[in-house]
């Protein structure tokens, strides 16, 4: 299922916003954000005693005058942090056009925000094949993104190249797979200064319609289950769904990540102002 990505809509939703980065030091290409590495920016980071081989240009002569010892000014590097957007391209993300469109729009929105903030965004999608794009090619990749994965997100991610350290990792998925949330969340948070989990859900995921018998087919595995969707069954589903989401929220909290839930029924603009507002700060 391919839905045309409206970048104009994405640009409008990103207007006046900037991606909120975590406060800790970052790593990345040379840029404007204070890095965790020692560098040559104007920001003072620390003092330390001189060691043979140190650059004499960094000696703080005032401190030498006050103490009589050779002290060096240790300055922090300024980098452009990497922003990694992981998009779950499994088939369950496309059970409706709205859900697929919203997932793609959210990804594009994050990429747009990152690029506007001078960051270095890259996108990794885990469909039937794992794709990775960075720089200008992210737009083309998101336009052509197919939600055709037949394996759950956690399994598909194992086929992807190792996740590199980054400043911010945004994961866009419905998180509706059976993998235990906590280990998977830890895996996602590893090497990232900040983690944002965006759950994109269709209306049928949250409140499925009932009243008749149905052959329920899993979007990814094709497994079939025949159920009569009585109110009791729907209640049981709702309870299990809430418990499942609760587990993911708890897991996100434990890894100090941010959890956001995006309903596919709402427009990206509305989502940016409400459900996804925790990802941005006003410029």
């Amino acid at each position: 299922m391919t839905v045309r990505l409206d970048f104009g809509l994405v640009e409008r939703a990103a207007t006046g916003c900037a991606l909120r980065l975590p406060r800790g030091p970052h790593r990345g290409k040379l840029g404007e954000v204070r890095a965790s590495s020692v560098g040559s920016s104007l920001e003072l980071h620390d003092f330390r005693q001189y060691s043979p081989g140190d650059d004499l240009r960094h000696i703080d002569w005032n401190a030498v005058a006050r103490t009589g010892e050779l002290y060096l000014r240790v300055r922090q590097d300024e980098v452009s942090p990497r922003v990694e957007v992981l998009v779950d391209a499994s088939a369950s993300m496309a059970i409706s056009e709205e859900k697929a469109a919203r997932a793609r729009e959210v990804a594009a929105w994050v990429v747009t925000l990152a690029r506007r903030g001078g960051l270095d965004p890259s996108v990794i999608s885990t469909g039937s094949t794992v794709r990775k794009a960075g720089g200008p090619s992210t737009r083309a990749m998101l336009e052509a993104l197919e939600f055709d994965g037949r394996t759950p997100f956690d399994e598909a991610l194992r086929r992807a190249p190792p996740l590199l350290p980054c400043g911010l990792r945004v994961v866009i998925s419905d998180f509706l797979f059976e993998a235990p949330p906590q280990p998977f969340a830890e895996r996602l948070a590893r090497g990232a200064a900040g983690l944002v989990l965006v759950q994109v859900l269709d209306a049928e995921d949250v409140n499925p319609s009932g009243g008749a018998g149905a052959r329920l087919t899993d979007a990814e595995t094709g497994e079939v289950l025949e159920r009569v969707l009585t109110p009791g069954v729907l209640e049981q589903y709702e309870a299990r769904f809430n418990a499942h989401v609760g587990l993911w929220q708890a897991a996100a909290r434990r890894v100090r990540g941010t959890w956001a839930q995006a309903s596919a029924e709402q427009s990206l603009d509305a989502l940016a102002r409400r459900e996804l507002s925790s990802l941005v700060e006003l410029a």
């Binding site: 369950s92 993300m93 059970i95 956690d154 399994e155 419905d174 509706l176 797979f177 059976e178 993998a179 269709d202 049928e204 995921d205 499925p208 008749a212 018998g213 149905a214 052959r215 329920l216 087919t217 899993d218 979007a219 595995t221 094709g222 497994e223 079939v224 289950l225 025949e226 159920r227 069954v233 049981q236 589903y237 299990r240 769904f241 499942h244």
Partner: protein, 571 residues
Amino acid sequence: MMLGAPLGLLALLAVPALVAAYFLRRRQPPRTVSALFLWRTPDQRAEAGPRLHRFSRERSLLLEVLAVLFAAFFLSDVRCGQTAPRQHVVIILDGSLSMNAADAVDRAKTEVARIARAENAGVLTLIETGVRPSLLAGPQLERDRALATLERWRPAQPAHDFAPAFTLARELSGSAEHRLFFITDGPPPESLALLPTIEGRSVGEALGNVAFLSAQRRDEGGRAQVTVRVGNFSDTEKKVSVRFTPTGAAVQTRELTLPASGTAVLRVGFDTTGAIVAALPDDALRDDGELALLPSPLADVTVSMTSDLDAQAQAALRRFFAIAPGVKLAAPATLTIGPPKSGARFQLGATGTLKSFVGPFFSQKGHALLDDVQLGGVVWTAGENPPGRVLMSAGDVVLLSEEDDGTLHANLDLGRSSVQRTVAWPVLLSNVVRLARLSSPGFPRKHLMLGEDTPLVALAGSKWELRGADGEARPVMGSGVLMLPPLPRAGTWALEKDGEPFDALVVLPLDPRESDLRTRGPWELAAQKPQAFASFATTHPRPWWPLLVVLLLVLLDFWLTAAPRKKDVPA
């Protein structure tokens, strides 16, 4: 294919119900969901494999329809390769020797097959009449197998009464009301009229015949003397040539002129100690026109007397044995003679208080020891009673007795009796010698008539077996002097001891009543109770294989649809 219970096919009504249910289930709207695991109950979560697409509605339907089909097969009692209904038909076949005349036996076999087809017989019981009726096939043998068994049938019985076979047939048919079939070649037997449920027919043909009526052979000094009587069972005079083929000697042919319905005797001598075959020209019944005569010399009997036998008795015995044919005084002996309590086979003498008798003497009639023994005017002095079964007595004194092991006791004091001076003495001793001769292992007689009981002496400790010319073996049960049932067919029968040939005899196919074919001819007698059908089908056990197939199909369906599976655990 036949159906034992056609109502069982009603189970097939389940097929349309299954198909309807299948289409109803198909009409359920399909819905793709993001997370099927959230829809499962805990049990379903444990059972279903997340990766395996194991449920196949079509395959399940196919298996369920097949299960219903096989269940219907079971309930309807399907029998493949069988035709319904299966009737049990009992057919009585005349086992007389005359059935071999002019292919009557082949016509009888054809008639059996025709009856089996006409009566829609599933199983057959074929009974052969005879002195002792026997089962040719069955009871209730599959029709094809019974007919195949009948192919090997060759009647060889002497003239006999059919009533025992009819009685056996009625018992085996299951009810006195069931219709029976009787096939013969002779005239309708009188007993047939007494059984209204028997449908009889004859396959015989009235023919003239020339046959041997009797045959004897006497061997003495290497020369065999053969005497045969030939009968003409036709209404015209006949000239026939009788051909004798002795072993190791020249063939001799004798011409005979037989008057109409008359007989003639032929006596021929041969210098041979081997078998002699006498043959008549081929005619309507070949069986009674050829016979083999085995050498049957009188077997020598060795006799010994114990030393403690009194001198008077020894003298009397020696006088007899000196002139008795085929008797030798030698050791080891077949016949030992000694005084009472000596352990000898024939114990002669009297002990205790002696008492003389002039009669009357009471003897057991029919015992071989007393054949032709006349004691009129004899003074018999006896002592105390000997052990064993009493053969002859006077008053309360036992004069002759026999123990179970064959030991003979003669309670006789020869010194005070007159027995040894009368004709009874050599006759009595001849009988003792004859009994001793008959107690030798093997066949006491080398030639038997058809249907005659077979005398045989078998020693304990060995395996004895009778083997016919066609290889048929009949084990000999028991030991000692035996009287076996008549041998089933004419010809040479060998006696084997521990697998080795020991002796032989010939059953001569001679029976004038069977050789006379003039009374034969076709006839047919319908059952007087035609409403009485042949007995109903026997109930064969219902085959269980369809039920096993049903079970397998159900298990397979369960495995396909709902069987527990080990859940895939993510690595």
